[in-house]
Amino acid sequence: MQKTRTALTPGLIIIVGFLTVCPVFMLILGSFSEGLGAFGSFTLSKYVKAYTDPAFADILANTVIFTIGSAAVATVLALFLAYLNTRTNIPFKFLFRIISLIPMMVPHILFAVSWVLLLNPSNGMINLFLRQVFGLGGAALSIYTLKGMILVEGLLDLPIAYLVIAPAMSAFDVSLEESSKVCGASNLHTLFRVTLPILRPAILAAMTLVIVRSLASFAVPSVIGMPGRIYVLATHIYRIVATGYATDYGLAAAVGMSALAASITLIFLYRHLTREGEKYVTISSRGYRPTAIDLKGARFPLFGIVALLSFVLIVLPVAVLFYTSLVPYSMVPSAKAFAMMSWKHWIAVLKDPISLLSLRNSLYLGVGGATLGMILSFFVAYVIVKIRSKASGFLESLSFLSFSFPGIVVGIGFMWFFVQTPLYATIWALLIGYIATYLPYGIRPLTSAFVQIHSNLEESSRVCGGGPLYTMRRIVIPLLIPGIVSGWILMATMFVRELSLSVVLSRPGTEVLAVQILRFAEDGLWGRLSALGILMIFISTTLVIIASRIGAKLTKVDK
């Protein structure tokens, strides 16, 4: 046991180290190289070119406004929702749980596409409607603006901000507020003078996390930003490697370095902030539930806002996509539109060899990748939780480092690596890249599941005569099933919809769903895009249902 344990930690450090450090290392080397073909020949020209580009200042400004704007939108909405849920008597609280879970349901690229379908200036449904009803000429509203990007990204990142803020809000010691009220302050005064200042660490942490996510975001900048010629770092990198005649991976790497540096800095800030946040929260008393603030007359109007948000986040994108997949061209829902509905786009997609290939590839990557990813996550989580040593602490930092990496930047780094290997342009390249980027999603639920297994449970199996492997099979793994299932679901759904890494690593023959959807968007084939998008949602949902069924079956105690 001791021997296998001692071999386990360095072995995992090598694997995880390869997965997280390799793309970074190759990115750095690549940024100093002439080009993919001339790897290793040192040059500074890429940096000079990248940062003296006159357009770069605009791109940087766009990036800053986009990320901070999205963070503000997401955080304000999250605060609003968290406050209503934890502190007031708003009805139908189950909706809040659903809102915090939707990122699993609707892939970001499809969410962004649905907004384009509604609000694009030429034939967005809302614009068509305004034109027909009010006779407005041209486009009344355009999604292809920085504001549009911020709104959509903010809505997409709302769940993340909510998941950071809501626990802090409910762990908050209410007597602090009550003493303010006893002093004569109103509810609103208390909110701004006591509640929000105390929640500041959580609010800042949520903002930081959303900034990291929107910096890495590729779906919104590509689907909404690029048609409007609004470039941020991610799309700027994409433009360098994917469009035009002269792709330049050295230049992309040089630009990517700044995105990577910013992300790593922010993620350290985030970890610092959450540690600070815990300091605040642990002061609070536990268990005491205050009477909820009575919203009185505002109860249903406020609920209306929540319901509208849920509608916009969950129902609208799917409805818009499904509708678009059935009508021949963009039109406002009407009797005429319903009369013209057909399965034309669906049939076209199901006959399109590349779409079918991308369906198959994404399904393989989702199922196979999540399975391999969970096996690796299992051992990493085991070492992190059960073997408390300096090396395991190092492994933990290493495995969470990749959480901050923007997918497209990791993609560029891996590109530099895979070109030197036979893995280039194979599905294995995507598989390795996916696992490297999304490893924290598998490790997170497993570490929390491991923490809950008291070491006595394992020890008593050993004393009863069960060897290490027997104990693992009969005690540890069965107890981990819930963690394994939720980690697998997270990874599988992430992999099925993966876009930002895939746009770099996917080559002819290794197309995946999200990349194919992006191609359709670039070509304006909205009907086919919608049909394929609905299939993508269907696959994700099916995987989630199957995995939870299997999990429920395995955790049943009595036979």
Binding site: M1, E459, R462, V463, C464, G465, G466, G467, I481, V557
Partner: protein, 362 residues
């Protein structure tokens, strides 16, 4: 089966400090008896138990269970837990929540690949022994604390181990249930004629359950004896203090004459019947347990070990009065029958039996 431990040591390191959890422990645990390791938290008792069972690897020394050496640094032997054939009951019970009672108890037999019929028979027999007949299909999480404890015991017993070990198994039960379970455990273990090693910090548990008690302090075994010897005849202050409430009076040996050793102390001359080997002139401490202080009626002035004092405090605790008496400058705690007519502030005479005054060497 007998357990022999030779020069066992184990250190823990935390923040540049080395803490000796076990410091050269030599110990012989006799076969088929209930042996208790007693001590305050952090004294190394649990570490010692975990070394015996193989969950902790000592830094040095040797452990033999029966004739088999299961650990030795000299000979380079380490037999892992699963090959030692022991049974253990954990403080948390460690009942596996994903299994029902049958699977929990059957587990040790399943690891040995015994035939299914045999397993069913043995589990049934063991569950009957711990009075859990018919609980086979109950999910383990749907049991009360006392029932979980019995499942843990059944699991430890089912494979008929050579030795069974207990790591504070009663500390998670409430007071009343603890008392019942203690009695039950005593009767189970007496019936089985098995070597049992029991770790606890609860002196009542140790005294009432054990055939032999070993008191530990800072990684060392301070004293070994029967509960009676430990309680009445300890010659170490730490042990006398830890095992029960006691008055300690400092003094000097004046004469040693059969049957009494006379000691000159702050409260006067004390006669002690216990032998101590102390020679005249030696500084010693006299230990008097509060229940052996008697309050005397009337004007007793003659006789041995009779002192006068003032009742400083008196608390009614139900089955007794507990209080403090000031004799000269010394405060003595005492415990008397609740029917005794004594009041706070009263001047009384008190006496302690020379047979129950033990001399502790300083």
């Amino acid at each position: 089966m007998e357990i022999n431990i030779r020069r066992l040591s184990k250190n823990y390191y935390s923040e540049d400090k080395t803490i000796a959890a076990l410091a050269n422990v030599d110990l012989n645990i006799p076969a088929n008896r209930i042996f208790t390791l007693l001590g305050p938290s952090g004294c190394g008792k649990t570490t010692l138990l975990r070394c015996i069972v193989g969950l902790e690897i000592p830094d040095a020394g040797e452990i033999a269970i029966g004739d088999e050496i299961v650990f030795s640094t000299e000979k380079g032997i380490y037999v892992p837990s699963e090959k030692r054939g022991l049974g253990m009951v954990f403080q948390t019970y460690a009942i596996w929540p994903h299994m029902n009672v049958f699977d929990n108890v059957a587990y040790p037999l399943q690891t040995r690949n015994e035939p299914k019929e045999e397993i069913r028979r043995k589990v049934k027999k063991t569950l009957h022994f711990v009075q859990l007949d018919g609980f086979e299909n109950r999910p383990a999480t749907k049991l009360s604390g006392g029932q979980q404890q019995r499942v843990a015991l059944a699991r430890a017993l089912v494979a008929e181990p050579k030795v069974i070990l207990f790591d504070e198994p009663l500390s998670n039960l409430d007071a009343k249930l603890r008392e019942e379970t203690r009695k039950e455990l005593r009767s189970f273990l007496t019936k089985l004629k098995i070597t049992a090693v029991y770790v606890t910090h609860d002196r009542i548990e140790a005294l009432s359950l054990s055939d032999t008690v070993a008191v530990m302090k800072s990684g060392r075994i301070v004293e070994i004896g029967t509960p009676w010897e430990i309680y009445f005849d300890s010659d170490r202050r730490f042990v006398a203090d830890f095992i029960g409430r006691a008055n300690f009076v400092e003094g000097k040996v004046v004469t040693v004459e059969e049957p009494y050793t006379m000691i000159d102390s702050a409260i006067g001359a004390i006669a002690c019947e216990k032998k101590s080997g102390a020679s005249p002139g030696k500084a010693v401490t006299v230990c008097i347990r509060p229940e052996f202080i008697r309050v005397l009626k009337g004007d007793h002035t003659d006789g041995r070990n009779i002192f006068r004092g003032r009742v400083e405090s008196l608390v009614f605790v139900g089955d007794a009065y507990e209080g403090e008496i000031r004799v000269g400058e010394t405060l003595l705690i005492f415990r008397i029958e609740p029917t005794t007519a004594v009041r706070e502030g009263e001047e009384i005479a008190l006496r302690f039996d020379p047979r129950h005054c033990s001399i502790l060497l300083n």
